[in-house]
Symmetry: C2
Subunit: 327 residues, 2 copies
């Protein structure tokens, strides 16, 4: 009997805090689609989290289960997907050390995110591990011989470096590793409550784990068109994050809201109340799913997935070491 | 009953070629002394060998057993010492990836050997792993919680960096790792057959694995005082490597040789013949020991030592991960 080999896809998230509706309509939505067509591996990238968070390991530790809860809430299915802990697969770290021997320093130094992040976050972040971030990412992928990786445009340079490392390895030691291709994904930008891109670092998110009252409060204090001061002032919906958020959960009502904001007939308070209610209704099944998992179940999902991941990872590292004549 | 805890000592060698008499009177002599007073771990540093030799893994592979044979020939006792393969203890690589997250890039960039070697060997050597060399060395040591490390003056900066990494780890995550102290060892310089320091890279060595005829040939073609052209010319023994080598294996005759070289009564051919015979006699027990081990025994010594090493290494990495709240 022939076996139909499904495409192997790898992705992951650093456990550094809770996921928000931007993730839900972005990467998480894509993950849920991918899991039914591909063999997917989703990584809790806890070692990666140390690149920016090494001074607060407790936060990384606490974020681990929260992250998996957010995944499950979004519809990630542990029966279809392998959810695993990066630090629980030591083969990834081993591969990282082995491959470090063939990666020219200049390849890592020229990755645009390296200099950008140092400029953005200061020299404190400039550790040896931070310089090696894209290499460790490649190891996450290569250890499963994943052929497809969903990436945003900003991470494309990391994947390109990873592909170069694979080519170099295969050239030096014989064909062993799989060169991963990007699934280039650009999701519609979701604005946060302050109008900037929704992002944990801006404190402008609506989180999957928020309760309904918190969601209401966040939306009540959201920024709107600053020129619409009083109820009957005409508004400009195109620059209003509240209007943009209606698209996520209240699409049918968008034309009516646009028109009545422009004429001034719809006030911001009413508009926000409607958003809060539809947002909460939209998130209700997600949040109910989130609440349905107990701690023991989460632990078991992580343990089972990590065990499964290790079997494949060990197989790859064995081949890598054989190719390097270390066995 | 109280147990007397012996000092734990760690050292290692990269499998990049055969050992020579310079090693025998240097590091290897010290190892043999240390094994009877301390708990010693001697590493076949095969991953480290990739920093300079990644293009020729077969050479590293072939050098592995030769290296252990040289150790055993010199008197290293596998019943007293743990001889292990670096790549066979993946916990070292895992620790390397974990610690990479807390090591500032600048610490590695300022290690003098980093810039020196790039100047000496060219930019090709400048890989990510090469930059991390001193960190991987620290992992070799720290994974066994060794408190003493024999080092030459040129490696002191590596150990100092390693101590800094340990202090930083213990400061960030609580006391976990042992700060290793140097056993600073300066051995008498042994000249090679061309008068420069005996070193594999100069092709001027007398190897433990050489047979007696090869030893004779190498000594016959050795450089002597260039002003002593004919037999009866007076020589200057202090600048002659052949004279210096007599000290290793023919010490009692050194005064006589010095005097008769100076007067011109001793010719270089006779002097070399005497050196070759005493050198071979001195090395005979070493070479006989070398020949007494078969391949299967060597394999078993490495396997047993690596198994023993892994037990201790796994224990340390477990503590490290617990301190980093990864478990």
């Amino acid at each position: 009997m022939e076996t139909l080999q499904r495409t192997r896809v790898m992705s992951g998230t650093r456990p550094t805090g809770r996921l928000h509706v931007g993730h839900l309509v972005g990467a998480l939505g894509q993950w849920v689609e991918l899991q039914s067509t591909s063999e997917v591996f989703f990584e809790i990238a806890d070692i990666h989290a140390f690149t920016t968070g090494f001074e607060d390991p407790q936060h990384i530790r606490d974020s681990r289960e929260e992250l998996v809860l957010d995944w499950l809430a979004a519809g990630v299915d542990p029966l279809q997907a392998t959810l695993f802990l990066q630090s629980g697969v030591p083969e990834i770290s081993e591969l990282h050390t082995l491959l470090s021997m063939i990666v020219p320093l200049s390849w890592l130094q020229r990755v645009p995110t390296f200099k950008d992040q140092i400029e953005a976050l200061g020299a404190d972040i400039s550790t040896y591990g931070f310089l090696g971030y894209p290499l460790l990412q490649l190891c996450d992928i290569a250890v499963f011989r994943a052929s497809k990786v969903p990436v945003g445009k900003d991470q494309l340079s990391h994947l390109e470096l990873g592909r170069e490392v694979v080519r170099r390895f295969n050239h030096l030691y014989g064909p062993t590793l799989v060169e991963p291709d990007a699934i280039l994904s650009e999701f519609p930008a979701v604005p946060g409550t302050d109008g900037r891109k929704m992002s944990k670092s801006y404190h402008n998110t609506i989180d999957l784990a928020d309760d309904e009252e918190t969601t209401r409060k966040k939306i009540r204090s959201a920024v709107t068109d600053p020129k619409k001061v009083r109820r009957n002032d005409p508004g400009e919906p195109e620059i209003c994050p509240v209007f943009a958020l209606h698209h996520l959960c209240n699409d049918a009502r968008v034309p009516w809201i646009r028109d009545h904001c422009r004429t001034g007939e719809l006030g911001c308070v009413d508009c926000k109340t409607e958003l809060a209610e539809t947002m909460n209704a939209w998130l209700r099944p997600v949040r109910e799913r989130r609440a349905s998992f107990d701690r023991a179940t989460i632990d078991r999902i992580i343990t089972d997935g990590t065990d499964r991941a290790r079997i494949i990872a060990a197989d790859t590292v064995r081949d890598v070491k054989r190719a390097m004549k270390l066995l």
